[in-house]
């Protein structure tokens, strides 16, 4: 009977510890995801601070046919994906990959630095159905960002933004 009672107590203690660990793990995961969201929004903001299109970088465009062709979305000319400062327009971030070392900070006391991986995709979308990729040029471009990290397991943070062209006449 005593052995049975000891066994029950041991099981209870184990379960309580397991619950503690689960809660701590969930809170730490949430902390890492907050940082991942900040990394994603940083990338969205960085891309949004650039020109709408290669052709609108220094001059205004009035015709949709002057914009970059759908098949040419991505890096142009001397732009280099390893140096994001050379990217001058929104669609340069199409198929852009980066591993932000700057954000790899140690936020967990017993955890090494966290490295995030970012993948961006830019497509034209229409104003009537912004969730569907347009096969023709439009005045709206949509960026999809995926942020992953080994610290987040198989989970991926996905964020979207739409950048529209406008200028003062």
């Amino acid at each position: 009977m005593t052995i049975g009672a000891m066994f029950l107590l041991a099981v209870t203690v184990l379960n309580v510890n397991k619950n503690f660990n689960t809660t701590t793990e969930i809170l730490n995961d949430s902390k890492i995801r907050i940082l991942a969201v900040s990394v994603a929004t940083s990338m969205l903001e960085e891309a949004s601070s650039k020109s709408f299109d290669e052709q609108t970088d220094t001059a205004a465009v009035a015709s949709i046919s002057s914009l970059t062709a759908v098949s040419s979305l991505g890096l142009d000319g001397s732009e280099n994906s390893s140096n994001h400062r050379t990217l001058n327009d929104f669609d340069d971030y199409n198929a852009y990959k980066t591993t932000p070392i700057l954000d790899s900070i140690s936020i967990l006391k017993d955890c090494p630095k966290i490295v995030f991986k970012i993948f961006c995709k830019v497509d034209y979308v229409s104003s009537s159905s912004p969730s569907v990729v347009s096969t023709t040029r439009t005045w709206h471009k949509k960026m999809q960002i995926k942020v992953t990290s080994s610290a987040m397991g198989t989970d991926t943070i996905k964020m979207n933004t739409i950048y529209s062209y406008w200028y003062f006449r």
């Binding site: 309580v16 907050i34 900040s38 903001e45 949004s48 601070s49």
Partner: protein, 206 residues
């Protein structure tokens, strides 16, 4: 009472003592976990609330419902230091003015000294103040331990302090860290947010 009975009693007391120790340790762990986890949750909520407000305000730098009242948005930043920023905007006042009332407002963000919160056990926390126009500074101790802003010009180059021409600011990097104001065993939880490039749309209008 025989010898075996005494052995039985002593054995029971020993086992009972062990059980009591286990229960006390378990209780201590439970209390610690409740404190730590609740603190962690509060810290994360505080950070998100802080970021939510900062992002909303900062994105509207240079915005005014009546554009003629703020014709040159590039001159919206009045003061730019490492731990403070003052800028022009048009604050929304829903439901009457969801997009602002068309009158230019001033928002001033700055952090107070850590010594001002010497009453809290955390030695690093400080007040993050938000002052609208000439109103009294408003703040709540959310456990902010870092509020750093780095400024960049249109070419992406970092601007050095002191920034004598705030209109040269094009994008900024905001780093915010929030910690518990008090913690179990002084083990403070930390949450960090870094907005690498916050580009207010109106700052690009130059």
């Amino acid at each position: 009472m025989g010898f075996s009975s005494i052995i039985d009693i002593l054995g029971s007391m020993l086992i009972g003592g062990f059980l009591l120790l286990i229960l006390l340790r378990l209780n201590d762990s439970a209390v610690q976990n409740v404190y730590v986890n609740t603190g962690e949750l509060i810290v994360q909520q505080n950070l998100l609330e802080t970021i939510d407000l900062i992002e909303y305000d900062f994105k509207k730098i240079g915005y005014c419902k009546v554009w003629a009242n703020l014709p040159d948005p590039s001159k919206s930043i009045l003061l730019a230091t490492k731990h403070s920023i003052k800028f022009l905007t048009d604050i929304a006042a829903p439901p009457t003015y969801p997009g602002g009332d068309g009158v230019v407002d001033t928002i001033y963000y700055y952090v107070g000294a850590t010594s001002a919160l010497s009453g809290t056990p955390n030695p690093r926390d400080m007040m993050l103040y938000r002052v609208v126009n000439s109103e009294t500074a408003k703040s709540a101790n959310l456990g902010v331990t870092q509020f750093d802003i780095k400024y960049f010009n249109a070419l992406g180059d970092s601007l050095t302090f002191p920034i004598s021409v705030p209109s040269s600011v094009y994008t900024m990097q905001i780093s915010v860290t929030v910690e518990n104001t008090q913690a179990y065993g002084e083990k403070y939880s930390t949450v960090f947010w870094r907005q690498l490039r916050l580009a207010a749309r109106n700052l690009r209008n130059r």
